[in-house]
Each structure stands twice: as structure tokens, then as C-alpha cells.
């Protein structure tokens, strides 16, 4: 039962975050890149002020799957690095991006080699 509730919360919060993005698209005609940057920075901000973990405990994937999750993991890395030294402080955040970036670049390369752009039929 608890697991099921977890999914409901993930669905609701995830849907809400996406809905906010949609309101921005409708009102300001923003495109992919700007929206993604905004929500990344939102994740960064929420993690910096210490609020992200509370939302994560409640909503799980609802806040980590949107790009906000990526933002928070960057800050988490920076926090860990800062405990060690200055060099680690400014590089450990990027280290946490490693998984996502590796996947994106590798799959981008691989799929671009085997798939071609399809014609739009709308």
C-alpha cells in the first residue's frame, strides 16, 4: 500500500512540475532549452536552501526525474567536495553529472549512427 502511495505522490508532483513548465510555455512561448535551464537552476536552488530533500522524501521520482533532480545532484556533489578542499569543491558537482552526461553523449552518438530523422506527418 505504501509503495502504491509512493507512485501516486510521484505522479502528482511530477505532473505538477511539468504543468508549471507548460504554463510557462503557454504564457511566454519559451522553448526546450530555456525551460530545461530554468528547471535545472530550480533544482540547484532548492537543494542549496535545503528544501529539496523534504520534497524528495515526499515525492521521490516526482522531483528527481524532472531535470530538477539533475540540479540537486550537482549541488549534493559540490557539498561533498567542499568538505575535502577547494579543488574538490568546484569539481565534485560536475562529477555527479558524469552519469547523465555519459549516457546522453554515448546514446546520442550511438543512436544517431543507426537511426535517421523521420519526416513529419503531424
Amino acid at each position: 500500500m505504501e509503495m502504491f502511495l509512493g507512485y501516486v505522490k510521484a505522479f502528482a508532483i511530477g505532473g505538477l512540475v511539468c504543468m508549471i513548465a507548460q504554463i510557462l510555455i503557454n504564457k511566454t512561448k519559451m522553448t526546450s532549452a530555456r525551460i530545461l535551464v530554468m528547471f535545472l537552476l530550480l533544482g540547484v536552488f532548492l537543494e542549496l536552501i535545503g528544501v529539496f530533500k523534504y520534497i524528495e522524501n515526499f515525492a521521490g521520482a516526482g522531483i528527481t526525474i524532472p531535470i530538477t533532480g539533475f540540479g540537486s545532484t550537482i549541488v549534493k556533489g559540490a557539498k561533498e567536495g567542499a568538505k575535502i578542499g577547494l579543488f574538490e569543491a568546484v569539481t565534485y558537482g560536475f562529477r555527479n553529472m558524469a552519469g547523465g552526461l555519459t549516457a546522453a553523449i554515448f546514446f546520442g552518438f550511438f543512436f544517431a549512427l543507426i537511426f535517421r530523422s523521420h519526416s513529419k506527418k503531424a
Binding site: 512561448k29 526546450s32 530523422s117 519526416s119 513529419k120 506527418k121 503531424a122
Partner: protein, 335 residues
């Protein structure tokens, strides 16, 4: 003979001896499907890229337009035309097969109007047989002006669908039962400060209004002189805005329509309608030409419209200027 500020009425007879239209697969399911001479089975048309397909589209359309009336490219005075792609590559590259003198033109989606105006002036003079041709392609325009095809962006309600298509016409001195280019009004570039590259209809409407009103003032005609006043690609909203702007100046255009907004059926979900340099030439070379031949249309004012912008100009904060040229096309036995 120049009339008024911006209009030129031709002294000699310039016939539209032939026309040929090639439509893309999406357009072939639209409202003009019964009028196209030829239809592409897919966007790539057996070429290695969409850009190469667009080169082949123009080459094909020009060849067929001439073949229809047994005219050789070597007998033509010039080929003139343009498209939306950087350095008008499709038009320039398609011309290399013909050994015919070539003039590349660019007025965005109003290029066909520019081609008809210049071409008819040459035929009015000493030239004979000028080909006017423009094209556009959905994929090449998206790549250059907007986003990669597979990117999951959501089209806005004011956006238009770039037409995949090409139309060519042959202007000649040869008499016959053909429509004539009687004259044209050269438009001015107008910029009303609109910055949304997804609402080009709104950006172009003032230019269209200005050209049409100038045409009426220069010639002393009124809107009902024409059976049809048809713009290139203002789209639904642009067309309504044009109607509104002209009405404010005292010209009620009851006979107004727009190639782009007529192109697609409602269920094709093409936003405000079609757009692109090939939109108006495709509709002209198919639907309008055939109706003029059968005399269900006798006098039209054909007004291709263009939005002058590049991807960088919009990012640098520039607004979007518009332009429109008005070309008068009539059936001869009306005189």
C-alpha cells in the same frame, strides 16, 4: 508604364504559357490535391538529404514546365527564382543543369512575387521565355530556422507549417488562350515591431495591407475590380488582420483569401496554415493557373507575402519586417 508611386502596368502582352506544380506528401492530402501536376511519395524523394531533394524538386518542376509546351531550356531568356535556404542553394544548384542564364532572388516567402514582377518586365521588353520558380521544404526550413526534426517541441497556435512544394511558370510573348501578367505593385519593407517568430502572419499583414492599398491608390481601382485577392501565406490570423487593416483605410476586401490558409484540411492540424517560398508558387501553378485557364477566375490580384528574418536576427532582439508584392493576372479575352 509606371502608374502612381509603386505600380507598373505592362504595355505589351506577357502570357503565362505554362505552369507546373510539385507537392509534398503532406500537401498532397490537402485541399488542392486534385490540382497538383505531380506529388512526391516522401520528403526525401530518393535523394541523400532534404536539401538535395529540394534542389531536385526545382530542377524537375522547371523541366516539366518547359516540356509541357515543348520549349527547350536553351530557348529561354532566363531562369529566376529563390527559396528559403541559405545562399538560395536549391534554386542556384537546380539551375546548373539548364545552361540557361540565371538570376537568384530573395524576398523570403514573397520571392515568387518578386520573380513574376521582374520576369514579366523582361518579357514586356526584349526578352522572351522567362521561367519563374520557387520552392520550400518543411525539413530544410525547420533545420535552418527552428529545430531538429526529432526534437519534442510543441507548436504554438499561431505557428504555420512550411510547405514542401515547388511551382514554376513560363512567361512568354507567345499568344494563346493563357492568362496574362498585366502589371504589379512593388512592396516596401514594413516593420511594426513584432518579435515573435512564431506569429509571422501578424508580422506580414501590415506590409500586405500597405502594398494592396498602394495598388488601389496607384491604379484607381477598387477591391471589386478583382474576382479574387489572394495573399501568399498570411495564415488565418494574418488574413483576418489584413482585412481589418484595409477596412480601417476604407477598403473592404470581401474577395480576400490566402494560399497558406487554404492549403491544408482542418484534420491535418497545420496551425495557421501553410507558409514558405513554395507555398504561393505551388498554389499559383496548380489551383490558380487551372482556374484562370478554365475562366472560373478572370482577374486576380496575387500578393505573395514574406517575413524577413534569420535565426540570428531574432536572437539578437531584432523585430520581424514584412514585405508583399501584388501581381495583376488576367484572362486576355476580357479586353
Amino acid at each position: 508604364m509606371k502608374v502612381g508611386k509603386q505600380t507598373y502596368l505592362l504595355d505589351n502582352k506577357v502570357y503565362i504559357q505554362s505552369a507546373y506544380s510539385l507537392a509534398g506528401p503532406y500537401e498532397s492530402k490537402g485541399n488542392f490535391r486534385d490540382y497538383f501536376d505531380c506529388v512526391m511519395e516522401d520528403d526525401e524523394w530518393k535523394c541523400k538529404s532534404h536539401e538535395m531533394a529540394e534542389i531536385e524538386m526545382q530542377r524537375f518542376v522547371i523541366s516539366e514546365c518547359l516540356a509541357k509546351v515543348n520549349v527547350s531550356p536553351l530557348d529561354c531568356g532566363a531562369i529566376m527564382g529563390g527559396d528559403l535556404i541559405n545562399q538560395i542553394v536549391p534554386t542556384s544548384f537546380s539551375a546548373r543543369d539548364f545552361h540557361t542564364p540565371f538570376m537568384g532572388l530573395y524576398n523570403a516567402c514573397a520571392t515568387f512575387g518578386e520573380a513574376l514582377s521582374i520576369g514579366s518586365t523582361l518579357v514586356n521588353g526584349d526578352f522572351d521565355k522567362i521561367i519563374c520558380c520557387t520552392s520550400s521544404h518543411y525539413a530544410t526550413a525547420e533545420r535552418q530556422y527552428r529545430y531538429p526534426l526529432e526534437l519534442g517541441t510543441q507548436p504554438t497556435p499561431e505557428s504555420q507549417w512550411t510547405v514542401t512544394g515547388s511551382g514554376a511558370v513560363l512567361l512568354s510573348k507567345k499568344p494563346g488562350e493563357y492568362p496574362l501578367v498585366k502589371g504589379y505593385t512593388i512592396g516596401r519593407v514594413l516593420d511594426f515591431g513584432l518579435t515573435d517568430p512564431n506569429n509571422m502572419g501578424g508580422a506580414m499583414a501590415p506590409a500586405a495591407a500597405n502594398t494592396i492599398i498602394t495598388h488601389f491608390k496607384d491604379t484607381g481601382r477598387s477591391p471589386d475590380y478583382y474576382d479574387l485577392i489572394i495573399t501568399g501565406d498570411l495564415g488565418r490570423f494574418g488574413r483576418e488582420t489584413l482585412h481589418y487593416l484595409c477596412k480601417k483605410e476604407g477598403y473592404v476586401l470581401d474577395n480576400l483569401n490566402d494560399c497558406g490558409s487554404m492549403m491544408y484540411c482542418d484534420k491535418q492540424k497545420a496551425g495557421q496554415g501553410g507558409s514558405g517560398a513554395g507555398c504561393c508558387s505551388l498554389v499559383f501553378a496548380s489551383y490558380l493557373y487551372k482556374r484562370l485557364l478554365e475562366k472560373s477566375l478572370k482577374k486576380i490580384l496575387f500578393v505573395p507575402t514574406g517575413a524577413m528574418l534569420s535565426k540570428d536576427s531574432a536572437l539578437q532582439g531584432e523585430s520581424i519586417p514584412g514585405i508583399a508584392h501584388a501581381v495583376v493576372i488576367e484572362r486576355e479575352d476580357f479586353y
